[in-house]
Amino acid sequence: MREIALEARGLTVDRGERRVLDGVDVDLVRGEVHAILGPNGAGKSTLIRALLGLVTHRGSVRIEGELASRLSAQERSARVAYVPQRSELTASLSVEHVVALGRVSRSGAFGPEPHVDEVARAAMERMDVARLARRAFPTLSFGERARVLVARALATGARTLLLDEPTASLDVRHTLELLEVVRSLAAEGRAVAIVMHSLEDASRCADVATILRAGRVAHHGPAHEVISPRPVRDVYGVELLPRSALGFRLEKDS
């Protein structure tokens, strides 16, 4: 049975005179990767920010059945985690501390919650960044930073993950590795929404896809139906070739 982790109805966001999101409905389901697609300026990142309550919006967001507006910031962060495209962190905090900050809302006034180090360690090992634990975050490559940010999201313990273009700065290898992690996170029962530009990557990892156009849902459904010639032509004005000229896969023994 499909278990809805996050349900948004009629999400509308205005920026000055301009409507950047217009009555968008989204369901994020446990065990599924939901790709949010669309051309530049379609409202993909705004949708993620509205789901997180980071922008003023109309419409409702329910997280695990409860209205998000009734949840405190701490309660919300324990249920929904966010991975930004790029962190604004430029200060020399160590990787282990950045990941442990995923638990910051659970720490007391003069000390962290018990076992925070173990939780952070597990998240770092899950994302294969434990070897970087002592490194300062700004000294990492973009690929490493992306993995650390996912580790921080995992450390929150949230079962819904919202990723905003996490592959934007990654090379092909790091992209494939991250998408594999995303698939495995969904397989463990998490609901994952991922904003993407690459239709090829989306078709590789998503179960469900929503294409936005000018702030509205243009197409929604199973990924293989949405990422198909007609919707792609309709939204992007390009022809989707039956087979990609280039294709990649990870070498399993590397």
Partner: protein, 337 residues
């Protein structure tokens, strides 16, 4: 793994800073314009000089600790390495309010009893710092960049300095009042007493403890407000509280030592070079280092061979201004962020 333990680097840095603190205490007790080595034979006079020097050391240490701690907080809160209570106009707000609380009752013919004054002046300084920061925050919330924030601080400092000068002109006819008003602007711990340190000290202690409690939030805020909010930080509430504790610390420091510039800029940067950006260790070590630094500056102020003692604010200004310019140069590419 040790994301929350005390690192060896923190232990070493704390030990080094604590050693310097003890050394400055010893120096501050023994060094001054009057030599205590046999020259003063009157026991009562000797005791009075020693008490004065101890009070000076304590006042400078507590004020320096408060300013350095406030500097760490505002740099984290505004994500601006050039921020400090003096650069943002916070100490100017505190100094003006202190000057007003000192001068206005006398000028209006209702002078405060000295024991009432000891309570009123620190409170006025804290409120002045709060008002100044509140004004700054109004602009910062509208997305002011790093340069804009500094410019608003500059305008606030100029405006409040001008208002303080107006009070000074009015107070000049009464010599002692005029001196006291000037002391707020120039900075110094020459005329302090242990009683004043004990009355202001609790404010600083509360401010330091509160800042420590907010250290993890300051760490998260380094990633920006969106990331902090997504990690469960109530950003609006955090801003309000952090501004409040900055005002308490800056106001208390000004009540003790007047307007002393750049301590909150210089010391956090120096300690950050040693310890990195984590706020819990940074706040502790920067506070001790700030206290030590200001005691050192007070020693310089006392020992420069001039007819009258050099104001403390002049010493910190001479040391701090080049560092500020160096930081400005280093950050020039990120100033619009």
């Amino acid at each position: 793994m040790r994301s929350h333990g005390v690192s060896p680097r923190t232990v070493v840095a704390t030990s080094v800073v604590a050693t310097f603190a003890v050394a400055t205490f010893v120096l501050s007790s023994r060094v001054g314009r009057v030599s205590l080595d046999g020259a003063v034979r009157d026991a009562a006079l000797l005791e009075a000089v020693e008490a004065l020097r101890t009070a000076r050391w304590a006042a400078a240490f507590v004020a320096g600790a408060a300013l350095a701690c406030a500097g760490v907080v505002v740099q984290g809160l505004f994500r601006n390495p050039l921020a400090s209570p003096s650069v943002l106009g916070t100490t100017a707000g505190a100094a003006f309010a202190g000057q007003a609380a000192l001068a206005l009752p006398t000028l209006l013919g209702i002078p405060l009893r000295s024991d009432v004054g000891e309570v009123v002046y620190p409170i006025a300084c804290v409120l002045g710092a709060l008002g100044s920061l509140g004004f700054l925050l109004l602009f910062a919330r509208r997305g002011a960049g790093r340069v804009a924030l500094l410019l608003i601080g500059f305008v606030l400092t100029s405006l409040l300095g001008a208002a303080g000068s107006l009070l000074l002109v009015a107070a000049q006819e009464r010599f002692e009042l005029g001196r006291a008003v000037v002391a707020y602007a120039l900075g110094g711990v020459g005329g302090t007493s242990l009683e004043r340190v004990l009355s202001v000290g609790p404010l600083v202690a509360v401010g330091l403890l509160a800042a420590m409690a907010w250290a993890p939030t300051l760490d998260v805020l380094l990633s920006g407000e969106d990331e902090a909010a997504s990690l469960g930080v109530d950003v609006r509430s955090a801003r309000r509280w952090l501004v409040t504790w900055t005002a308490v610390l800056s106001g208390a420091a000004v009540a003790l030592g007047g307007q002393v510039a750049f301590v909150g800029l210089l010391v956090p940067h120096a300690v950050r070079l040693l310890l990195g950006a984590r706020h819990r260790a940074l706040l502790v070590v920067a506070s001790v280092a700030g206290g030590t630094f200001l005691v050192g500056c007070d020693l310089v102020a006392r020992l420069v061979p001039l007819r009258s003692e050099l104001p403390l604010g002049v010493v910190t200004g001479v040391l701090g201004a080049p560092v500020f310019l160096a930081l400005l140069w280093r950050e020039r590419e990120h100033l619009d962020a």
